[in-house]
């Protein structure tokens, strides 16, 4: 199997971006990724775009509009969309472009102007089936709240444990210059914040952010060992679940993500993820999402994630730091987050995270969720090549 590496990453500042439109944000991320990779637009063999559902921006096929800024004109170019996991799915398609031997260097880019959407949660209601589920006022807040309620009922997880996730993420985001929300919060403040959909409160929830991120993937000459900008792709797994929430064995346990994680570990030859991985970026649009991801990727047993948080394992200076960037909870450009998790994991491997850097990272994990907690992906990046 051909070894493929991330040789450059780019991110915009996340938040309300009145100064730029969607295309300009794409350009911003693409430019900084190409600059870091030290290559020109002409050296990019193909471009893969991960964009969120069309309804968000009321545009049928923004990939067509963004072809120029994505450096894609006259090149093989395609757009991937699996909702929140668009970025990591585009990443795996980009990996296949290079691993197949057809290309030596490709660009993967994601962008989303969430502020173009007047009512995000009303729109999220329309991802649910018009006949069976849409009438129940389901949206991403109530959907994750259902999962949180079930987690509390089945495993005794507490609101305070969820609040602790919020506290650590907000603290970590203070060290991330790209983060949207950069504010310290306490458990007490989280507990007293407005209830959106019980048990999820305002400070258990992500903001609406604009932003873009990009990675350059390469093999062969362009990915030279010893370079400062190199994170090898060691493993990837992806899986999907049924559409209807009622069909899941447990809404609060992501079976599909566990399958994706196993596939990624198998490819990366990882036997004990908790020991062999030094840092993880997990998607957490709501605090409960992080708890569920910790279990599904195998860092602890099913139902034990509350205890995992209590023990401080996930803290920046803990045994297995989770979300040193502050993750989705502190910046949520919805269709971009999946790629941003990979960007942050790659930066940790490259040792480029400044104040949010975790010491001695050999292997990092990036996880995401898409659809109605329906799609899950796991990417493993590392300092060493895995395939010979």
């Amino acid at each position: 199997m051909r070894n493929v590496a991330v040789i450059g990453t780019g991110q915009t500042r996340y938040g309300r971006r009145r100064d730029v439109d969607l295309a300009e944000m794409v350009l911003e991320a693409v430019r900084s990724a190409l600059k870091e990779a030290n290559i020109s637009r002409t050296e990019v063999g193909a471009v893969i775009l991960g964009f969120p559902p069309d309804a968000f921006e009321g545009f049928n096929g923004q990939e067509n509009w963004c072809a120029g800024v994505a450096a894609a004109i006259n090149k093989p170019y395609m757009r991937i969309n699996t909702g929140g996991s668009s970025g990591s799915t585009a990443f795996t398609v980009g990996y296949n472009h290079v691993a197949s031997g057809l290309f030596d260097c490709v660009l993967v880019v994601c962008a989303h102007r969430v502020s173009d959407t007047p009512a995000t949660q009303y729109l999220f209601n329309t991802i649910f089936d018009p006949i069976y589920e849409r009438q129940f006022a389901l949206n991403t807040i109530s959907m994750w709240a259902l999962a949180a309620q079930q987690h509390m009922a089945n495993y005794g997880t507490t609101e305070e444990q969820m609040a602790q996730v919020s506290v650590s993420c907000h603290e970590n985001a203070l060290n991330n210059p790209y983060a949207h929300i950069r504010k310290k919060v306490t458990v007490d403040e989280v507990m007293k914040s407005k209830v959106l959909s019980w048990p999820l409160k305002l400070l258990d929830s992500c903001p609406r952010s604009d932003g873009a991120s990009a990675v350059v993937l390469a093999s062969g000459d362009k990915a030279r060992s010893g370079s400062d900008n190199l994170a090898w792709i060691c493993g990837f797994g992806s899986s999907s679940d049924g559409y209807f929430l009622g069909d899941r064995e447990e809404i609060c346990y992501r079976q599909h993500l566990a399958i994706a994680a196993r596939a990624a570990y198998k490819m990366a030859k990882i036997e004990n993820p908790k020991k062999e991985i030094q840092v993880a970026e997990l998607a957490n649009p709501f605090t409960i999402a992080e708890l569920m991801a910790i279990e599904a990727v195998g860092f602890c047993k099913k139902g034990q994630s509350g205890k995992f948080i209590d023990e401080g394992i996930a803290l920046l200076r803990g045994e297995l730091p989770i979300n040193p960037s502050g993750s989705t909870l502190c910046s949520n450009p919805i269709g971009v987050g999946a790629l941003t998790r990979i960007v942050e994991a790659a930066m940790q491997v490259m040792g480029k995270c400044d104040r949010r850097q975790v010491a001695n990272v050999e292997t990092a994990l990036a996880e995401t969720s898409g659809g109605a907690i329906q799609f899950g992906t796991v990417a493993i990046l590392g300092k060493e090549k895995r395939f010979h």
Binding site: M1, G58, Q374
Partner: protein, 328 residues
């Protein structure tokens, strides 16, 4: 998978269909371009060694909404959308430019419609049936000059699936293997003002990538299935694919070269004029070529077809194009 949200009227078009497409608890990827891109993604998954067997599915449910509004939303909100562009009138601009540049008439264009609708009569999957004679075709309602109802693609509900497997696995599974010799895909500028609308350079690039990968020249192709959105677009297409010089496609067609019994039968299925499940159309073209080169195309079979070329397109003004070359 390949599907578009706005066409299906669902905010995330693959959520409902992923399980039906066999993706339950499996790796699932959705492209928003044409179905032929789905085939490319499937091929890359196998070539990279990630999977051995891949199912590619593309669909569109065009009857969910008004396709003029759906395609108006393809244009940017600042410059093009307020002008009222939609697929039909944008195609008409291209057709008018081509017709003016090379002196192509309604009568010339009608030959392609007659061929497509007459081939469509042999295709059990055909949706639209128009009497394939000059009089009916020329008298059809004008939608946006020079394009008449009989000159352009229709909109259809439908889906298509193709099963791909690696070389070794394929020969274990079946005796009737269709081989993918090469594929290519490319994109043009978005704004029509940045292009000469009588040309589709991305198609030329996609085709040369596919010819190079397959080691074949245009002369080796026995049959074509294309997604020319109108008959004028088919003329541009034949030129970009290298079957004749710029502006000479009309000669090729008037000589009957593209007829079912000609040297280069084009759209033996009737193409997207007779049924166009929009995003799925490019995948349908590859499926039709697979049937042709394996000799399973029944009444619409082209005699002795060994190597075929399929084409898919997406984006306004046929901005993105994909070419797949296959053989038995």
């Amino acid at each position: 998978m390949a599907a578009q949200d706005v066409v299906d009227g669902r905010s995330l078009a693959d959520q409902l269909s992923v399980s039906a497409a066999g993706g339950y608890r499996k790796k699932a990827v959705r492209v928003c371009n044409d179905g032929a891109y789905g085939l490319v993604v499937g091929c890359l998954e196998i070539l990279s060694g990630q999977s051995d067997i891949v199912l590619v599915t593309a669909w569109s449910k065009c009857s969910e909404g008004n396709m003029n509004i759906v395609t108006n939303l393809q244009f940017d909100p600042f410059y093009l959308r307020p002008v009222g562009f939609n697929e039909i009138n944008s195609l008409a601009l291209q057709a008018a430019r081509y017709a003016e540049k090379y002196g192509v008439t309604d009568y010339d264009a009608a030959r392609i419609s007659i061929r497509n609708f007459s081939n469509g009569q042999l295709n059990p999957h055909a949706q639209r049936k128009i009497e394939p004679n000059e009089e009916t075709i020329l008298k059809a309602k004008v939608l946006s000059s020079p394009l008449k109802e009989s000159d352009v693609c229709t909109y259809t509900d439908g889906a298509c699936s193709i099963l791909l497997a690696s070389d070794q696995t394929a020969s274990k599974l079946t005796d009737q293997v269709v081989r993918i010799y090469g594929f290519g895909w490319s994109t043009d500028s978005y704004y029509p003002g940045d292009r000469d609308l009588s040309e589709i350079p991305s198609l030329q690039r996609a085709a040369s990538q596919a010819y190079k990968a397959s080691g074949l020249a245009p002369a080796k192709i026995d049959v074509i299935e294309n997604c020319g959105r109108s008959n004028y677009h088919e003329m541009m297409l034949l030129e970009e694919l290298g079957f004749c010089e710029k502006g000479r496609a009309n000669d090729l067609i008037s000589k009957g070269t593209t007829s079912l019994d000609g040297r280069l039968p084009t759209n033996p299925s009737g193409g997207i004029m007779v049924s166009n499940p929009y995003v799925a159309s490019g995948l349908v073209r590859t499926a039709e070529i697979a049937l042709q080169v394996s000799g399973s195309a029944e009444e619409r079979q082209v005699n002795g077809a060994k190597i075929g070329l399929a084409h898919g397109t997406s984006g306004p003004f046929m901005q993105s194009n994909c070419v797949v070359i296959m053989g038995a």
